[in-house]
Symmetry: C2
Subunit: 263 residues, 2 copies
């Protein structure tokens, strides 16, 4: 990929910190995306070659495998999300695995670095992306520390809804989601068995239903209330902050193509 295309890529107005899904949909990057079937590890823990991945479609998880055999899912990036590897994680300590059919753009660190050197304002934009990912991680950290399994699960299902909404991948009452109960457990720091009971309770209390790959909100207001959910940390209305630098030169001209639930 040439530097020119990368610049063009960023100039086409990004939504806040994720990319406009329309932009990712077209193959404007000038490189053809790679396709992977579900359950493919396409970036193995320990690989330290710097790269950038941009998810075109499908579900991916960033996971960490501990010495005791446990797995921790750090995040589940969605279509339009940008991943910096390995700067994001503990230095090549994470793996990327497809959870569904996915197609991703992969850009070598060398090319990316060159482009950044030439067009330094990109750097500000990308630090904005990292800051957002940090913000999401911080939210999950407090969730895991200070919310019980029920609230935590509710909170996460709401988060996924918001993020998918930004990618235009929601229906009126919910969204489809290829995560297994085991995956969900590894995201939330619980066991699959416990998640199972929690999901049952959420269903029985008529809050959300997570079944057969479909999440359906039964009473979103009650759910928001239970979880104490406030979507601000997702930065979908990022209007303040240091990170306007650079990015401010390329003001957003058309509104992002996304739906959002009313809170």
């Amino acid at each position: 990929m040439s530097e020119q295309t990368l610049l063009q890529f960023v100039k086409s107005p990004p939504i806040c910190v994720s990319l406009s899904i329309a932009d990712v949909d077209s193959d404007f990057l000038g490189i053809t995306p790679k396709h992977y079937p579900p359950d493919t590890v396409f970036d193995r823990q320990g690989d330290t070659r710097p790269r950038v991945f941009i998810i075109k479609s499908g579900w991916v998880c960033i996971s960490r495998h501990l010495s005791n055999g446990n797995r921790q899912i750090i995040d589940v990036p969605l279509a339009g999300d940008v991943l910096f590897i390995p700067s994001l994680d503990g230095g090549g300590a994470n793996s990327l695995t497809s959870l569904s059919e996915v197609s991703v753009f992969e850009i070598s660190g060398q090319v990316f670095r060159k482009a950044l050197d030439r067009h330094p304002m990109l750097s500000a934009l990308f630090s904005r992306i990292i800051a957002r990912q940090h913000s999401i991680a911080v939210e999950r950290l407090t969730s895991v520390c200070r919310r019980n399994a029920l609230e935590r699960t509710a909170h996460y299902l709401l988060e996924l809804g918001e993020r998918l909404g930004a990618a235009g991948a929601i229906t009126e009452h919910g969204y489809s989601c290829p995560l297994t109960q085991h995956d969900l457990a590894d995201v939330l720091g619980l066991t699959q068995i416990h998640i199972n009971r929690i999901l049952r309770e959420l269903r029985e209390r008529e809050l959300v239903s997570f079944r057969a790959g479909t999440v359906e909100f039964l009473s979103r207001p009650k759910l928001v209330n239970l979880a104490g959910f406030e979507g601000g940390y997702l930065h979908y209305n990022w209007t303040y902050g240091l990170h306007q630098i650079g990015a401010s030169r390329q003001a957003s001209h058309h509104p992002p193509a996304r739906k959002t639930f009313k809170t």
Copy 2:
């Protein structure tokens, strides 16, 4: 502060991602630091004015107050650490509180932005700092999710040791630490009472002693083993990654002034 001084500030070779403590010690920034007594909230949750803080000395905590009255400590930045507010957190959702006597540099977002616009390679450097903070958050997330209270506490005390080591603030066998048991609980997602018992166990098993503001390693190898501690995520030997861009122009000329424990 002029842009010139900010540039100079960054040119004086930073250690990886924290600043050389020697650099922060001198008042080279050209601004006088502010001093706060312990337990002062010097940046309140909800304040969205963008700013950068650099900690000159003392202990600070970044905390979040939830609606249910709980507090979650996101991180405990130490001398030499750089804080971007509010881009770091969920958008002004966090507070900064001094845990000891502290002195901090405060730079307005406006000044900072101007400097970044002029010298875009700064941006790469600072995104490197954010990436490191993210990496620390990710490590704590997995710690909280997949390590029990004993391992988690051990891990955190080791982390603090490493980070203080980089700031030159450790003795041969440990370090001094103003955190109360309650603070520690809020970092690790436990209750003060439980932390108390955990600390007792760590002491009785002759691993670490946390008492009277002093942390003393009784058997660091055993502790490392218990916690499964690997310091890589702290990025003290950051030699790879996208973030060499820009920063690579200002190669490190003198080695960082820091001590590190042997593992």
